[in-house]
């Protein structure tokens, strides 16, 4: 019966996905009467502007244009989609990003007037070691500008010729002077993105050349843009290059190298609809092309597979360890030990009151700040804590439903407290606990989507990475959603099996009377 339900669910999901994939076609019509044909910044007064969180574009746009309303998006892709679907009339971003998007989106046009000059550079921690490395890096970049190499790099990454867009194999460089860890957000092409399963782009090209010239091996760690400065400050990496704009405020906390890209902040708007009507595609060929781009091109399915595995590992380990932790703590607190209960209440107050993202960031950058530990382990630790406190609450609730009389009957038969708990109380509490436990597992799997903040390449993050390459609005999202549903279905199914096993009423008479001959007359 469970299998049948599962199949129904899959069919529903598929239909849901098709509807959503078809949605952009409908919104394409909506945009014809949206904000097209804008020619100057002043025309955007009072309009909605899309920007990426963590950039300085929002401040610049507010200074330059009257009454603009800022919409914040987590990725440039989302900001672009907002522009294309008419949710925003302008998209404020760095010049190179707009320039790059222009290569694949002929309906997007960049306004001539720049909002600000802005240069991009690599950042280094404010330590003695960081200072030295920064000076070395700046000198190298100055050299690239002087001999014209920089112009050549620019030409490679801002071309549409995929063949040329590649970097040297930086992870195999000789580590004469050690290995440098560089953090970058791989959703910002052409500076940093994933191609053929490998981070590459303008920034990585420069960094790789620097490492090659100075005898370093390069290790690239991918993380969310929001976390990059935190990673540099706490020494989680040696430096970061991720299309980071030089600002005075940022200079207070980190060191910048010489600019490696001279650009500005610009505003992109939609072109008049008359130009270049999009070629008609049928629904099915649209889906086929989306599928090809999202999964097949550059073997991107590998990214999804890796991300799924990572998400699954984090979820399963957190569930197992969290259950053990919650159970262990419950057993210590069960008899009302005031110390154990006090400590537990305090820890639960902290863990449950805090957004998981903040908890993960604190664990990654502060608690494990000075030790080199993989983001996956930190994610498991963080979710073990949150899931442990959930299990603790569930046990408390479930055991609380058992009548006091059950304890008393067991004690008067002569059972110890321990036997009473394991043989009488827990078996009766479990059926109350498991349904809630199952839904908590589903919640946990969804909650793991935030681990991108601590440099973990989970399913959501992989979806973002692919989306930043393909500029597909929805297909990767739907794909990610379907995979999440499958993961949730799988784990919920396992718990259902346990649920059946612990239900005593499903036993047959032979099981109940195992090892007993009912007709024995002695």
């Amino acid at each position: 019966m469970a299998g049948k339900r599962f199949r129904c669910l899959l069919i529903c999901l598929f239909l849901f996905g098709m509807v959503l994939t078809a949605a952009p076609a409908a919104s394409a019509e909506a945009r014809t009467n949206g904000g097209k044909g804008i020619a100057s910044l002043d025309e955007l007064a009072g309009a909605d502007i899309a920007v990426q969180t963590g950039m300085i574009c929002d401040v610049l746009a507010q200074q330059r244009i009257e009454n603009v309303k800022i919409q914040y998006y987590n990725a440039q892709t989302d900001a672009l989609i907002a522009l294309e679907t008419g949710k925003a009339r302008g998209w404020c971003c760095d010049e190179p990003v707009a320039r790059y998007m222009g290569l694949t989106h002929p309906d997007v046009v960049v306004l001539e007037e720049e909002l600000a000059e802005s240069d991009l550079a690599a950042v280094f921690p404010k330590t003695e070691k960081g200072q030295k490395l920064r000076d070395q890096y700046s000198a190298f970049v100055d050299g690239l500008w002087a001999d014209g190499t920089m112009a050549a790099i620019d030409a490679v990454w801002f071309s549409t010729d995929e063949e040329k867009r590649t970097v040297l194999d930086y992870s195999a460089l000789p580590d004469t002077n050690g290995t440098l860890i560089m953090t970058t957000d791989t959703t910002i092409p052409p500076f940093s993105f994933v191609k053929d399963g490998r981070p590459m782009g303008y920034d990585i090209d420069v960094a790789a050349r620097f490492c090659q010239a100075n005898g370093y091996r390069l290790q690239v760690v991918q993380m969310s843009f929001d976390s990059i400065l935190a990673a540099v400050q706490t020494g989680k990496c040696d430096f970061a290059a991720s299309s980071i704009t030089i600002t005075d405020e940022r200079k207070e906390s980190v060191l910048f190298s010489t600019p490696d890209y001279r650009g500005g902040v610009v505003m992109a708007v939609l072109k008049e609809a008359s130009a270049a009507a999009p070629e008609k595609t049928t629904f099915w060929s649209g889906i086929a092309s989306s599928f090809e781009k999202t999964f097949l091109r550059e073997d991107r399915w590998r990214l999804f597979a890796d991300g799924t595995l990572t998400s699954l590992i984090i979820a399963v380990l957190s569930i197992l360890l969290g259950t053990l932790l919650g159970f262990g703590v419950y057993m210590m607190c069960r008899k009302g030990n005031p110390l154990a209960n006090g400590v537990t209440r305090f820890c639960m107050w902290i863990v449950q009151g805090m957004p998981v993202v903040v908890l993960l960031m604190i664990l990654y950058y502060i608690v494990f700040g000075s030790v080199s530990v993989s983001g996956v382990i930190v994610a498991v630790a963080g979710f073990t804590l949150t899931f442990g406190s959930t299990v603790f609450s569930l046990l408390k609730m479930g055991v609380g439903t058992i009548d006091r009389g059950q304890y008393e009957a067991s004690f008067t038969l002569g059972f110890s407290d321990r036997t009473t708990f394991y043989r009488i109380i827990l078996p009766q509490a479990l059926p109350h606990i498991l349904p809630a436990y199952k839904s908590e597992i589903v919640t946990l799997i969804k909650a793991t989507a935030v681990v991108g903040y601590i440099a973990v390449q989970d399913l959501t993050k992989m979806g973002d990475i692919v989306r930043s390459r393909t500029y597909e609005a929805f297909f990767p999202l739907i794909a990610v959603t379907v995979i999440y549903f499958l993961l949730e279905g799988l784990l919920a199914f396992l718990v259902s099996r346990i649920q059946i096993r612990v239900n005593p009423k499903r036993r047959k008479a032979e099981d109940i009377l195992k090892g007993v001959n009912p007709d024995d007359k002695n």
Binding site: D403, G405, Q406, E408, A409, S410, F411, T412, L413, G414, F415, S416, T419, R423, I424, P427, Q428, P504, K505, A509, I512, L513, K514, G515, V516, N517, P518, D520, N522
Partner: protein, 363 residues
Amino acid sequence: MIKIEHLKKTYPNSVPLRDVSVEINDGDVIAVIGPSGTGKSTLLRCICLLEKPTEGRVLIDGTDVTDPNCNSDLARRKMGMVFQSFNLFGHMTVIENIMLAPQLLLHRNRQEAYNEGMRLLRMVGLAEKALNYPEELSGGQKQRVAIARTLAMDPEIILFDEPTSALDPTMVEEVQAVIRELAGTGKTILIVTHEMSFARSISNRVFFMDEGRICEDGTPEQIFDHPLNEKTRRFVRKLKVLELGIKSRDYDFLAMYTEIDKYCVKNRIPWKITQYLHMAFEEMVRQLTSPELPPPDIQTAIEYSESAETVEMSIRYTGPSFDVTRGGEELSMKVLKSTMPEITYTFDPNAEYSNRVLLSWHC
């Protein structure tokens, strides 16, 4: 033998047990009776260590089981308890409920435990329900299984805490029959119950408890037929009592008048009798508080027995022998005397209140 010494149990806002000292011999079948909230259940729960006494000791065969160093799990194996709410283990079948303790605690093998369990189930008449779950049984059946489960550990002492109070009246008899059968087997039994005839018929000893103490401890004949204690008498006869004391000539007559009214309405005493009570009270007390006599000290008690349908009023007062029934206004005394079959006056110079007038009416 169970020896209880100055047992006391207090809670922050109540004192269920004040001071209980008693010895219970092996094979005693004791019915514990008394009004609600007088510590009957608490006494049983202290004996089987479900409650920790505030003061005092419980010795079972010479071992102090209330000693913190005593292994309470071991001590409990000698005892069994049957609860008002049955408390069968809901996740196990009837036979598993019975087999669990002998298997785990007495290390019987499954076959032995099963055979013994089935024997007990046959004894309580429920062998065919062995593979049913408790929720599939009626209340009376559940209680019989609970008794079988207790017997499976072969306890020397069995404590029954109101075993039939949660049952439908039609099922009380089937449970009582099982308990009655046990009463002759030599086990020590304490049973808290509100079923007086049942208590009387199975026990060889009765404790009447009131206000956290054992007020009277005696044979069923003594307790039910010739109680020594006034409270016992009122309880076993199911009397409803109103007591009024007068210590001064300036007592609040109206307040007492209202109290008699309220008491009569509450106990549904016929209006006619209420009138007589008022009349008698007024007549007697008026005489006893007259200025010619020394300052009064009068105790009035009205007792109503629902079963016998009688109302008795006793008026006791101090001082030398003085029969109020002979004095007073002749006419009103005559009217009063005409309402009742009898009115008696007794004088006992050694009693706290030497004079006593007893009036009684049939409803």
